[in-house]
């Protein structure tokens, strides 16, 4: 009898507490929202900087013995297109989750923390791989690769490379933010387990 009584008693205490005081937001709430706004800002910055990375230089054309103006832009490389797609999705995700966090009722917080943690992990995978892909290609642009005869282009397209480099740095920051998010969500869920 005692074993069945105890949970009932706890239940009644819990429901009384719930009726007496409305559930409060956890301490991490404001940090959560601030980080999500930062993710949105970082993603939008990375996308804008990458899209505006355009530079036209007069370079020797290999086919003719002439020099012609040639424009470097992000759409020249599939890796940069993937980068922009991924960071756009991350920016959208950042602003949507910020709004959801703000309008969220504190009573539903735990369940939403779970959903946020699961989605954050997915977004982290996408943003980290996009940053890696763009970084790998940008590094070849910066240093070239003498083994396969890929020439470096950053000595000619200096401004373009500065834009690309800055954009990748901001995306790296966004990836770190996503790691922090997920850790914070996991920790917030962990703290709700009674010790």
């Amino acid at each position: 009898m005692a074993s069945t009584d105890k949970p009932d008693h706890r239940e009644s205490i819990k429901s009384e507490e719930a009726l007496a005081a409305p559930p409060r937001r956890s301490n991490y709430f404001s940090v959560h929202v601030a980080l999500r706004v930062l993710l949105f800002a970082a993603s939008v910055t990375a996308v804008v900087v990458m899209v505006t990375a355009k530079q036209t230089e007069i370079v020797p054309v290999p086919v003719f013995p002439f020099r012609a103006p040639l424009e470097a832009k992000f759409s020249d490389s599939p890796a940069f297109i993937y980068f922009i797609s991924a960071l756009s999705v991350a920016g959208l995700y950042g602003i949507l989750t910020t709004l959801v966090s703000i309008v969220l009722k504190p009573a539903h917080e735990t369940r939403f923390l779970l959903h946020f943690a699961l989605l954050d992990v997915l977004m982290l995978g996408i943003v980290a791989s996009a940053t890696g892909a763009a970084g790998g290609v940008a590094y070849i642009g910066l240093k070239g690769n003498s083994h396969v005869g890929w020439v470096k282009v950053c000595n000619v397209y200096d401004k373009f490379c500065q834009h690309v480099g800055s954009s990748i740095a901001v995306a790296l920051f966004a990836s770190v933010l996503l790691v922090l998010f997920t850790m914070l969500s996991v920790f917030s869920i962990y703290r709700k387990i009674p010790k």
Copy 2:
């Protein structure tokens, strides 16, 4: 009195047994261990396939009007070196966490799930970015980039490219495993919150 005492006595013994029984492992435990062994296997496979990707072909040398044997190997590209480092760390992490999961006392499970989730997120970031970087470089090797005059090399070094491609595919699988891990850890922690 004796007839009513007896059942009470039994009840109390039962509840004592329930209190004395050690905490059991969660249902997800075996899935956890299996996934971690898979991560180890996938990481080691990716590293071995990438390291053994060596091919020597006789190609025209740009400086002289001669043809010379030239070897393609993973260390020609910094992205592939980063890839191997990251996947080696992931393999080590996989085998270490498998061992820890097996020797772990069920009573400490929740705390270790938290630590695992936090570390899994970090590993996911590393493995996903390495896969992205290697994928970005391998794609240039496969298709070339006519905008900047980077020639494709996979028409000559076919076996090398097959190795690299397979290795990246296995690493992608390892990334997906890490996403699943983290989700499973988060969900296991969430389930321990009393409803």
